[in-house]
Amino acid sequence: MKKVKYIFVSGGVISGLGKGITTASLSAILKSKGYQVTAVKVDMYLNVDAGTIRPQEHGEVFVTDDGIETDQDLGHYERFLDISLTRANYITTGQVYQEVIRKERSFEYDGEDVEAIPHVTDEIIRRIKEAGEKTQAEIVIVEFGGTVGEYQNSLFFEASRIMKMRSPEDVLQVHVAYMPVPPNLGEMKTKPVQQSVRMLNSMGIQPDFIVGRSEYPMDERRKERIALFCNVFKEDVISNPDVPSIYEVPLVLSEQNMGEKILKKLGLGVGGKDLSPWKKLIKTVKTSKKEVKVAVVGKYFATGDFQLEDVYVSVIEALKHAAWANERKPKLYWVDSEKVEKEGPEKLAEVDAVVVPGGFGSRGIEGIIKAIKFARESDLPYLGLCYGMQLATVEFARHACGLSEANTTEVSPKTPHPVIHIMPEQEKLLVGKEYGGTMRLGVYPCKILKGTVVYNAYNQDKIKERHRHRYEFNNAYRSEMEVKGMVFSGTSLNDRLVEIVELKDHPFFVGTQFHPEFKSRPLRPHPLFVSFIKAAVIRK
């Protein structure tokens, strides 16, 4: 049996510098060399998963096939690696401590004094190795969230040091650090990287590679300085400048032979495959001149460390993939639903299509409903995802079926027409305050009605998509809405749960209870998004 190799990716100087994209790009490069690669995200928070964290705090909650609510970086890994990851690919401090305390309570440590080292570090190592075993990976790339020097991630760094000490030829350390160019100096500074590497050194870790993230490419002089002060070879200092598309990063790293250098250090052969599909994609990105304009309508909310677009990163990426598949340049706009509420939806006539992504709460929903009504009545292609599907049925019930007070019970618990209501099993969970990981999560099968818009998109009568919801369409309104022209084109296999709705006599009006955006990949765009953008292009 081959020995599994491990690459740890840590960050320095600032957070949010693109460690996730660097990890994902590195994974894509090594995969292109013919290796079985998997990527693991380690988040330092005490939450067991990302499901209970406010989106303003955390950005998008990405859901895997097996239904764990994770960090958005897993979405990047899936998009770059074109594989489906599992709960083994996501580790949090909360999961580690929960397991260590469970073992202690069940006497699995045989009365030992349970300590941070070795018991917590051993649990971290066990989980990292498990991720490799479950995915049968030859190379496991582990990204540490946060930056070096934070108290809360020190045990994870210690675990990586122990792994390197035990098996030096199988473990590599890649440090991604920010190199600022202060506007008053106009010169790239290496000192923050040097300080960051010193902090790593103080924990007994010597990076094998240093990836310098900056606005501009790193020159030879800077590479020499980093090599000298950080004790690495100059050729192992890699420049990772800002590029127009994140999908260009594998090419940027590959041009510097980072994949070959890593494989050589790990004692692995350099495969013969190349990155030609990525090169082809980037060519399309750069040569697609005709635009397709898509408005994403939702409530504007304040964010902490994350930008608004981080909350909808998979939707935005899926729209881009589909636009490129249609050889169009995506022009995506955020439209604040509260603005639509006050100013009216008429300006939406300026775009080619409208998306309402997943959401929550009551603020701004009347604006969303106005936008949906406008799209429905003016034949503007519409794609509603999760909440966007639910509100599409509310809009249709109100304006096409004459149920003017129709609503979702999430917003109006006492509505006389609860078109969307909570699933009975979910209601029990909420009464018991069982919030964590209890939504209807992960992949579920869905049967599709032949001859519908979605059937034409998927070209299949049975699909599997990822879910994250507690509320569902109320079947009491199904026949009434069917009579008025709503088509229930996708349902669960037992017919109980409405999964997809669409409209007769509309070029593209589709709402999905699931999240197709989670399964869209740059090299394999999601068929529903591709059809949606195609409809937008035809309308144009």
Binding site: G16, A295, A302, T303, E309, K331, W334
Partner: protein
């Protein structure tokens, strides 16, 4: 009359005045400190912090364009 003279009333008016001023400055310059149009995360965060306060007070003073381009 008593309501008009209450400290709460004055405090609220002062807060609203300050908030309106901050929003006006932000809408004009895109920033309160540098005078530069936004482009950095900090300015974006400031904008959203203002939105948070405005939402709490039920005062949507944000005047972003109808279409805000996503990167």
């Amino acid at each position: 009359m008593m309501t008009l003279l209450s400290p709460h009333f004055f405090a609220k008016q002062a807060l609203l005045l300050l908030l309106s001023y901050m929003r006006e400055c932000y809408n004009k310059k895109g920033s309160l400190s540098t005078g530069k149009k936004s482009g950095g995360n900090w300015n974006f965060s400031l904008d959203t912090e203002l939105v948070l306060i405005e939402n709490k007070l039920g005062l949507p003073l944000r005047k972003g364009a109808f279409f805000e381009e996503l990167p």
